[in-house]
Structure formats: structure tokens, C-alpha cells
């Protein structure tokens, strides 16, 4: 897992804050076996920093032992569902804990997909006992790209499964005549439509721990803290609402 300054910084942060260990490289959706060495690095890291939450993505990035450095879209098929569930089982058995699986941003759909993405995600959670990391920006981006209703997507997710929420900015790219793709790039402020969807998500899921993802074109700390405080305000209102409901 390496050492030196990166590990020292992580351990210093760990001594003050709980950590969410978020994987991007295990490739739960690969047709081939998981990379045992990579899984072992995750296990060692988790053992060392004892994260509060561990997560990975509903996507793939490794084929024939080559890592494609992106979160690639899976066909929503029974075959892919079985493979993802087998790999989630393996990851949870190795780490001896429940993990969260995050819904991806996608820019294409495969012709042979037969299962809606939200049903696929729910089935993974049902069959493996894993939780769901609900990336609200990814729902917005994916729904816009495929002409789905983002609120309907949210409404299909079981509140009990949701263990963490992600928010982020995204960009747009014109492709073809008058067509625009929304691209998840973690490089700008969360847009107002995503804040609105976040409010819907909190109303449905309760005050779930929320992370602002901003890892390209990183702004002044004040801008990032402003985004975090905006999320914290909504979470606070939600917690107050829950307390009021309990008191009534």
C-alpha cells in the first residue's frame, strides 16, 4: 500500500475525522476475476485506517489484465448482474464488512441491456447485502443523457440501503446536431438542479453522510468549504425535521 508522506497525511487526518474509503480501481463489473493484489491493497488500507465507510462503483475498468482508468458502463444484463454480485460478495468477504456500491455517470446505453439501472443496483444490494452510495449528480447526469426522470430514479432506491451521498459538478459537451452530453468531471460547483435533487434525496433517505467531490480544477478552499456548508445546512434542516417528528 506504500508509505511516506501520503500515508502519514492520511493517518493524521484519520486521527481527527472518520474516513470514507472510496475505490475507483477494483472493477467490480469485469468479466474476469478481481485483481487479487489490488483487493489485498484495499484490505491492508482498510485495516490500517479503519474507515467508517468503504465503497466502489457499479462499473468496470479492467479487461485481460489491462486497466482502462475510467468507470466504464456495464450492460444491464443477468450475466453482468451475477458477475457484479459475485465480486461484491468477494470484496465484502475479504474486508469482512459491508461495502457501498455507487451508481455511475454513463454516456451510453448498450443495446442488449434488459434491466433498468435502478433495478440492477437494487438487485445487487438485495442479493449481496451491500449498501448503495447514491451519487445524486450521477443520477442527474445519467438521467439527462438517457432522457430518464431523475426523481423517478431516486424514488426506486430503497432508503434502508443508502449509506452515503455524493454531490459534484459536471460539464456539458455538444455532440452531433443539437445534442448535448453531460459529463461528470468533478471540476465545478454543484448545479442548482442537483441541489434540488439532493433535497429530494434527503427527504427520501434521511440525513445521510454527504461528500462533495471536487478533484479536477480544484478551487480555493473557501469555494469548496462553501459547497460543503451548503450541504451541511440541508443536512442540519433534515436532522432537525427528524427530531421534530420524533418529539411530536
Amino acid at each position: 500500500m506504500g508509505g511516506g508522506k501520503p500515508l502519514a497525511c492520511l493517518e493524521a487526518i484519520r486521527s481527527h475525522y472518520p474516513i470514507s474509503l472510496h475505490g475507483v480501481g477494483l472493477s467490480l463489473g469485469s468479466a474476469e476475476d478481481l485483481d487479487a493484489a489490488h483487493l489485498e491493497r484495499i484490505r491492508q488500507t482498510a485495516e490500517r485506517i479503519e474507515p467508517a465507510l468503504v465503497s466502489e462503483h457499479l462499473s468496470w475498468s479492467i479487461i485481460d489484465g489491462r486497466y482502462l482508468a475510467d468507470l466504464l458502463p456495464l450492460p444491464m444484463t443477468e450475466e453482468a448482474l451475477e458477475i457484479v454480485c459475485r465480486h461484491v460478495d468477494q470484496m465484502q468477504a475479504c474486508l469482512r464488512r459491508r461495502i457501498l456500491v455507487e451508481n455511475p455517470s454513463t454516456y451510453l446505453r448498450w443495446r442488449h441491456s434488459t434491466i433498468p439501472e435502478w433495478e440492477f443496483l437494487a438487485a445487487v444490494a438485495d442479493r449481496t447485502g451491500c449498501g448503495i452510495l447514491c451519487d445524486v449528480n450521477n443520477i442527474y447526469v445519467t438521467a439527462a443523457n438517457h432522457d430518464w426522470d431523475p426523481s423517478a430514479y431516486l424514488a426506486e432506491l430503497a432508503p434502508a440501503a443508502i449509506g452515503e451521498i455524493h454531490l459534484a459538478g459536471h460539464s456539458t459537451r455538444a455532440l452531433g446536431e443539437g445534442h448535448v452530453l453531460r459529463i461528470d468531471d468533478h471540476g465545478s460547483r454543484v448545479i442548482v438542479e442537483v441541489w434540488t435533487l439532493y433535497t429530494e434525496a434527503l427527504a427520501r433517505f434521511g440525513p445521510v453522510p454527504t461528500l462533495i467531490e471536487w478533484d479536477t480544477d480544484i478551487p480555493e478552499p473557501g469555494v469548496l468549504l462553501g459547497e460543503a456548508s451548503r450541504a451541511e445546512t440541508r443536512l442540519g434542516e433534515m436532522r432537525q425535521g427528524f427530531r421534530d417528528a420524533d418529539a411530536a
Binding site: G4, G29, S61, Y67, A69, W110
Partner: protein, 254 residues
């Protein structure tokens, strides 16, 4: 209908070689052609790995400029995509790629600087380890001294270059024009030791025999063999320096 394995192999050909055709046939077109949608993923694949290479090779990036670096990186990425998701270790073949890269032939010092940056990155991310407790050496029978084989700290690395790669590297990363202008490319070869200290990464210049001696010791050759490999140096005092600097973590008798 393709199996998941067939589909993932088709995506690989699209992303790595830009041959989107076979894979695009499986994409719902929906206003934007499959090739256009797949190109978004190819762009991210190339961009993410170019960033990974730029983080390991910042001096090369500055020396050749962003457009040159990006086009060299793209060709390298297509030829040698990563073999694992641990990107800290990606790009080990880049110095050798640059050595054979015709457009860079007029910058013959580039591969040496790249090898140094690689060693610096490896040192930066190497595992932690406590240095050897020197009192343990005192208990060795003097008759066994020749057979001591040291295990180096994981952050210790060695680089040689035909040009003063360390001077070029420091000057370029300092971004001081006068420092860059002051580099003497004719200064001859460099024998370098790279290690991680409490204050950061150190790149030390050694003489050629000192480098040979240290490199022998750090490949865990028995002390006597390392001494024989560099008869012209005062091995006892050089070894004392390595021990004092904590460059070894263990020893065995061989």
C-alpha cells in the same frame, strides 16, 4: 448479443486503439452516434493516464512543453496501458519509450531525467520501514563480517545518466530561468542515489566507484563482494556513512 467478456474486449479495442466500430454496433445511438459516445470514454482514458504520467514526470513535462508531452503520452499509453489500477506504479516504461521516440532525439538527456523522476516517484511512495538497529552489528563475529548482506530501505534507489540529470531536474523544477541557463550539458555523466528522508526526497551525487559500491550493497550482495567491486574507495568510511544515514533496515549472513 455479446457476452460481457466479448463486449469488454471490444471496448478495449475502441479505447486503446480508437477502433470504435465493432463496439459502437452495440450502443443505442439515440441522437448521438455510438462512436461519439465512446469517444467520451476514450478521451477520459487518455486524459486520466496522461495526468498520471505528468505527476510522475513533471520535469519532462516542463522540458518538452504540454503539447509535446501529451502527444508522447498518448502514444505511450496506447502502446503500454496500465497492468493494474495502482497508478503510482504506472509508466515505468516511459523513460525507455522516450529513448526510442524519434521526435525527442534532439534531447538526448531526456531519458536520464525521466529515469531520475521515476526513481524519485518510487521513493516517494515506497513503504515505511525502521532503519537497522546498529547495535545488532556489534554482536556479529568479526570472522563473519565479509558475509554481511544488507537489505536496503524500500525508498533507496539508484540512477545513472550520461548527462547531469540531477542538475537538469533541479533547475527545471525550480522554474528559475537563470538556473536552467546555468546547466552545463557537457558536465558528463551522473551517478545518483535517491532516498526519502524526514524532510522529503534527497537526490545525492556519488562518484562512480561509490555508486557501484552502494548499488552492490543495496542488491544485498555480501560485504566482501561489494568491497571487491569497488577496490578504489575507503569502504569502511563509506559504509559507516550509509549506516549512519539509515539506508539499511536489516542484514543477513551469506
Amino acid at each position: 448479443m455479446p457476452t460481457l467478456l466479448e463486449l469488454q474486449r471490444a471496448v478495449y479495442r475502441g479505447l486503446v486503439a480508437g477502433e470504435h466500430g465493432p463496439c459502437a454496433a452495440h450502443v443505442v445511438a439515440d441522437g448521438i452516434a455510438g462512436e461519439g459516445r465512446l469517444s467520451v470514454y476514450r478521451n477520459t482514458f487518455i486524459a486520466n493516464l496522461t495526468t498520471a504520467l505528468r505527476l510522475v514526470y513533471p520535469a519532462i513535462h516542463r522540458l518538452v512543453g504540454a503539447p509535446f508531452f501529451e502527444s508522447a503520452a498518448r502514444l505511450f499509453i496506447e502502446a503500454q496501458p496500465p497492468q493494474s489500477a495502482w497508478l503510482d506504479e504506472y509508466g515505468g516504461g516511459f523513460p525507455e519509450f522516450l529513448a526510442g521516440f524519434a521526435p525527442a532525439a534532439s534531447l538526448p538527456y531526456l531519458p536520464g531525467v525521466a529515469r531520475l523522476e521515476r526513481a524519485v516517484n518510487t521513493s516517494l511512495h515506497a513503504a515505511d520501514a525502521a532503519p537497522l538497529d546498529l547495535s545488532r552489528l556489534a554482536s556479529i563475529d568479526p570472522a563473519d563480517h565479509d558475509h554481511i548482506a544488507f537489505v536496503p530501505h524500500p525508498s533507496v534507489g539508484f540512477v545513472t545518466a550520461d548527462y547531469p540529470a540531477d542538475a537538469i531536474w533541479r533547475a527545471v523544477l525550480s522554474q528559475v530561468d537563470a538556473a536552467i541557463a546555468a546547466v552545463d550539458l557537457a558536465a558528463g555523466p551522473a551517478w545518483l542515489l535517491v532516498e526519502r528522508c524526514a524532510t522529503g526526497i534527497e537526490v545525492m551525487r556519488l562518484t562512480e566507484p561509490e555508486w557501484r559500491f552502494a548499488a552492490e550493497l543495496c542488491t544485498s550482495r555480501p560485504l566482501q563482494e561489494a568491497i571487491e567491486a569497488a577496490p578504489e574507495i575507503d569502504a569502511a568510511s563509506v559504509l559507516a556513512g550509509h549506516l549512519a544515514a539509515g539506508r539499511f533496515i536489516r542484514f543477513e549472513l551469506r
